[in-house]
Amino acid sequence: MARMKFLCDAERCIACNGCTTACKNENEVPWGVNRRRVVTVNDGVPGAEKSISVACMHCSDAPCMAVCPVDCFYHTENGVVLHDKDLCIGCGYCFYACPFGAPQFPQAGAFGLRGKMDKCTFCAGGPEPDRSEAEFEKYGRNRLAEGKLPLCAEMCSTKALLAGDGDVIADIYRQRVTVRGKGSEVWGWSTAYGPPPAKPAAGSKS
């Protein structure tokens, strides 16, 4: 049985935010809501700067599901965490429970009124008839029902973001790590500028 997961390779992500843009466009996500975003750590530090694309990780034991007071979350057979917006009361508990900040709330009014929760659906829609207008308006496109994968991963230019069955994408990642090795060659200094110059012998004048 497939268990759908995302995997982001921090060595490859160039923080282009193409995944964020693709998600917003494909699902017509409302203003102020980002289902996916790119986080950069050690910004500007050569060699130490890393970026990673973050959205709902579709946890196997999802904390959002555990804390929801109206039990609007469910796991699909593929392990995707989805929710019913007709039940959601916009309380925000899931936002506090989620370690990835995945649940988002549209600002529905002028006084900080929260709308119903919105989050990444792994492009799997929600509990409305598949590929229907109602499903698209509430949850976005159902690409899994079209035999496709989430657009954020499918259009990632460096293939840093992988999506699909956890076992399959883990195999892809494992092969990648084995081929590229580790150390400076991952960062690409030697590839771009050639090997470092040989150090002068000890005792010689420079």
Binding site: G147, K148, I169
Partner: protein, 84 residues
């Protein structure tokens, strides 16, 4: 007299305390705490493949849908592209 009153008060307090044990769940309808309460969702393999889509599977056949998705997933491996 005061002893009787004390016994009566204690008995009344016990009854009040016991009443808490008989509390019924105050949920409407068929709500079951901890269980999904929303509408049932459909399964992706129960849909027909798109006429113009590249992924093909037999409608209702989960295994063929998973094969189609796996093929699509493996397309993300550019080492496979290089080998082709």
């Amino acid at each position: 007299m005061s002893a009787r009153l004390a016994v009566a008060v204690v008995a009344a307090l016990c009854l009040v305390a016991l009443a808490g044990c008989g509390e019924r769940p105050q949920t409407a309808g068929v709500n079951k705490q901890g269980k999904y309460q929303g509408k049932p969702d459909t399964l992706p393999w129960d849909d027909a493949p798109l006429a113009y889509g590249s992924a093909k599977w037999t409608q209702g056949d989960k295994a063929s849908w998973e094969d189609a998705i796996k093929t699509r997933t493996l397309n993300q491996n550019e080492y496979v592209h290089i080998g082709q």
